[in-house]
Symmetry: C2
Subunit: 312 residues, 2 copies
């Protein structure tokens, strides 16, 4: 039996191997993704993002536990895009030592950051698809950070939970503005700390100012994940968002937009690879670089020439 058949039959080992194949760009990765594709589209994908130290992993674990009690199977993809050179030291090297890892209904996978970040968001989306095809009902994408890379990664989610904490200082609060628009649900974690109410008030104000679409105003939940406080309420809020997505037609719209942008990214990746291979192996690229360095030509003139040569 091949890896895809085994995965569809429920093998955890096959699931793990399939993700490894995608992560390391093994030769069989494309074939795996092709065969899995018809089995995707069933899971609900929840993104969990926010600054380092916000307690995202603990929160994810608690949410997963409650969904498990409801009989749902769980996948968790933990991504660390902020350390391109350390290979994902923050999340990747941490071993999640808790009862979740002993639960057959939960599959946890860390994604390092060995390749490029563009690659990372694609690989994350592929890992989600693999878990989806393997029959996981709820899949979490947990990612550190506040920048564009994290935004790209949580684009694979249907519902995005932005986790914040009181007391990270002015600079961090300023950065937060950057993730306002990706949050469908906000969780103020460590809400027993000083400043939680002020943070909630600030966030309320920012969300009121920012809100373009009045249909869904992102709710703010308060949690203390380490003590399990507020988790049931956060689940209720997330489920409310899932209901809203379905009832409003927004889920279909988001998934169509995602299918489109993933297809475009794949087309670009393959075309770029093909063209680069051609101009590298023919020695053209070296000649063009030499001509640029001598300022004999400008890059735009070269690109115009190339386009004419390559494209029908």
């Amino acid at each position: 039996m091949d890896i895809v058949a085994e995965l569809l039959a429920g093998s955890r080992l096959a699931l793990s191997r399939a993700i490894t194949a995608v992560e390391n760009e093994y030769e069989n990765a494309t074939a795996i993704m092709q065969k899995l594709y018809p089995h995707t589209g069933r899971a609900h994908v929840i993104g969990i993002t926010g600054p380092p130290g916000a307690g995202k992993s603990t929160l994810t674990d608690k949410l997963a536990k409650i969904y498990r009690r409801q009989g749902k199977t769980i996948g968790i993809v933990a991504v660390d895009p902020t350390s391109p050179f350390s290979g994902g030291a923050i999340l990747g090297d941490r071993i999640r030592m808790n009862e979740l890892t002993l639960d057959e209904g939960v599959f946890i996978r860390s994604m390092g950051t060995r390749g490029s970040l563009g690659g990372l968001s694609r690989k994350t989306a592929d890992a989600v698809k693999i878990m989806d095809a393997a029959g996981k009902d709820i899949i979490f994408i947990e990612t550190v950070g506040v920048g564009q890379s994290e935004v790209d990664i949580v684009k694979a989610a249907d519902t995005t939970v932005v986790v914040l904490v009181p007391g990270l200082g002015d600079d961090i609060q300023a950065i937060k503005a950057g993730i306002l628009e990706i949050g469908d649900v906000f969780a103020i974690n460590k809400a027993d700390r000083e400043g939680a109410e002020r943070l909630k008030a600030e966030l309320d104000m920012m969300l009121d100012l920012d809100q373009v679409k009045a249909e869904w105003r992102p709710p703010i939940n308060q949690t203390v994940a380490s003590q399990g406080t507020g988790i049931e309420e956060l689940i209720a809020t997330i489920d409310g968002h899932i209901d809203y997505l379905a009832a409003s037609g927004e889920l279909a719209r988001r998934r169509t937009a995602r299918t489109r942008s993933e297809l475009i990214a794949l087309i670009e990746e393959h075309i770029n690879r093909h063209v680069l291979k051609q101009i590298s192996s023919s020695g053209q690229l070296d000649e063009m670089v030499a001509s640029l360095e001598k300022r004999q030509e400008d890059p735009y003139a070269i690109v115009t020439r190339l386009l004419a040569a390559f494209l029908r």
Copy 2:
């Protein structure tokens, strides 16, 4: 006289307009960059990066002032990649109110983050080229952050200074690992704060462990930029790196690599745009997305078909 001629003749207004054209992707942007290209390659470009709150702007200003005293002209591109939605609130909206802005020999420009980040690193590189053609001797790229986006942005620099501060907490220290390899020079700013010596010791250890190329071991400077402490020493270190780059041939190697990767990025951008336009306007893209949503095809099959249709 056209904008490029004016810019080459020293007009600050033309310089400003040329950057605006590139930033907003005006129609004349390509023509401007084409005409400027032969006049680029003279400036030394210094990247200044590090976490929010490290005091990068103050440090940049102090460095600029000393270079000015040496009679050098200065360009500063201040980039904020961390807030893709707020339009660059951290650096972009701040007005630098100091004597530098009154100095005709200094040109400061903030770059917002309205487009995509991929676009931002290209636009930053273009802004640097424009200032270079305008005759600035030293150009600073100042960018907030610790992620891949910042790494991409400082790739346009010849010498990269990573600015760190004591006491940002464990998580931030962990993230730091991500920028170890891009630092040619390290500055521990706010070095009068508690923890500066420990941070230096840790950093020394990491750099010793990390060092692959023994030729240039990144030195660590301590500064208190707000008081002007350690700035002369930092300049001496940066100048030492500039000398090393020239003497070792590393400057030529870096610039060739940069020319190559910029050319590849430009080729990819144009090919992608062309292909996307073709498949969008013909209605093919919509059909392909619909077929994917019904799981009638998989994305890889579609890409294979497209490649055959498009490429010679």
